[in-house]
Symmetry: C2
Subunit: 265 residues, 2 copies
């Protein structure tokens, strides 16, 4: 089984120093549940206790009430699959046709679309300096008024190297980013070569969203997951995380982070 | 349009004092997107910028690339619906049959099941004292070893009034809770009259999960959303949030929180 955390090389930038180091990152694992030979859902999860996750997920969905109803429960930890058979459960198409996409803290579901496999690599040669990152994050934090009032929402912003261009808050981390991209589409605001700032953790599906809009740099106050980090690496995105005070970690494509500022975003 | 935050009465408990006050809570709004007259998804979101959310969601799902493809876009802010028509998009059943349930920070999707409308009210007469809450949260925090290493996961626990019985971590807030309930089901561990502790924000779908297992008390270090709070109220669950140091807010069914400890959990 995969470990609950993996270690990755990271460029650690503080006010005084830039150094190469290694940090633990939470593992992100794809786990597909098949119910009565039909693919039910793929969860992004930590790789432990997969048997319990399969059962608990089915119970929470109202598909299972006791373990006696389980005819088969086979978890393949290498393939990341669970095959479950439950007697008397009839899942017809109408079950699949309705779904609720939860806010999470904020997560969201995304359809497991083939499109993701074709997400283009971001080729942008945009750069950013550590000072610009600190200044942007500072501006970003001052905008989070709703959060200060309720402690319950996530923020996201579209920025260039100097200014926050669009700012959005939502109880859903994904919704905040989708609202920004919706505004860009409707109001003809370009996204390529620009920067996304998020208050939330950067997991793989966020990177796909961002790459589809041609955005080369994503900045977060939180830490990424392992799959988020690998996805950013593969999609050519510079992932800057754990920005707090005058410290940050550059996890991927760190060539875009230059100490000296030259040129425009 | 609904406000981004709503005010609710709350029982504020500190080491020195118990008082009735009123606090702002982030609004949680259900927003259903219909694409070409077919129900596509229901998002739990904040109630602002719904037009941008509909467009951004469709773009992130790869169903839309430019606003010129949009033939119709009607958002009804009172009904919480968007009707979108896009030319040339053919969504067949296979599109609905595959989905990825994201970890969120950690959110998750849940099928929008009719079962939720039938979630039973929790009738338990269990009680808890403020000191027991503080002690449990303290024990809970000491268990979060993986979080300390990676800053990327959520924790959840099943507890009685005195001890943490099961502890679980996952990048997904929902997964952590589902893993606990899966273990309870498989190992014949009772859940009724017990307590769930979560590191994450308490939104409506978490309350449905918890109510289905007959759990009367949920404790979180974070703040709830408006719909989470209303759902806890309706389902008879005592929602204790924002537990930090020696302070907590009891949002709903506060009759279960008694200053003096008597009896067992």
């Amino acid at each position: 089984m995969a470990d609950e955390a993996e270690r990755f090389p990271v460029l650690r930038i503080t006010k005084e120093d830039i150094s190469n180091t290694e940090l633990a990152v939470a593992s992100e694992f794809l786990f597909t549940i098949f119910l009565n030979d039909r693919e039910l859902a793929t969860l992004l999860c930590s790789p432990g206790n997969l048997r319990y996750l399969a059962v608990g997920f089915l119970a929470s969905e109202g598909l299972l009430n006791s373990k006696n109803e389980i005819k088969k429960l086979e978890v393949d930890e290498w393939l990341g699959t669970a095959h479950v058979e439950i007697e008397g459960v009839d899942i017809d198409d109408s079950f699949f046709a309705k779904r609720l996409i939860a806010s999470g803290c904020g997560g969201a579901a995304t359809f497991y679309s083939v499109a993701d496999a074709n997400t283009p690599v971001v080729e942008s040669s945009a750069e950013i300096s550590p000072d610009e990152v600190f200044t942007l994050v500072n501006k970003f934090q001052h905008r989070s008024q709703l959060y200060l009032a309720t402690h319950g929402v996530h923020s996201a912003a579209l920025a260039d190297r100097r200014e926050i261009l669009i700012f959005c808050e939502d109880i859903g981390r994904h919704n905040a980013i989708d609202k920004i991209f919706g505004e860009c589409l409707m109001e003809d605001i370009p996204t390529s070569d620009r920067i996304i700032i998020s208050s939330g953790r950067i997991s793989s599906e966020v990177l796909h969203k961002v790459a589809k809009r041609g955005i080369p740099i994503i900045i977060s106050k939180s830490a990424p997951t392992s799959l988020g980090l690998k996805t950013a690496d593969k999609l050519g995105i510079t992932l800057i995380g754990s920005v707090r005070g005058k410290k940050m970690n550059v996890y991927t494509n760190n060539w875009r982070v230059k100490k000296k500022t030259d040129g425009n975003a």
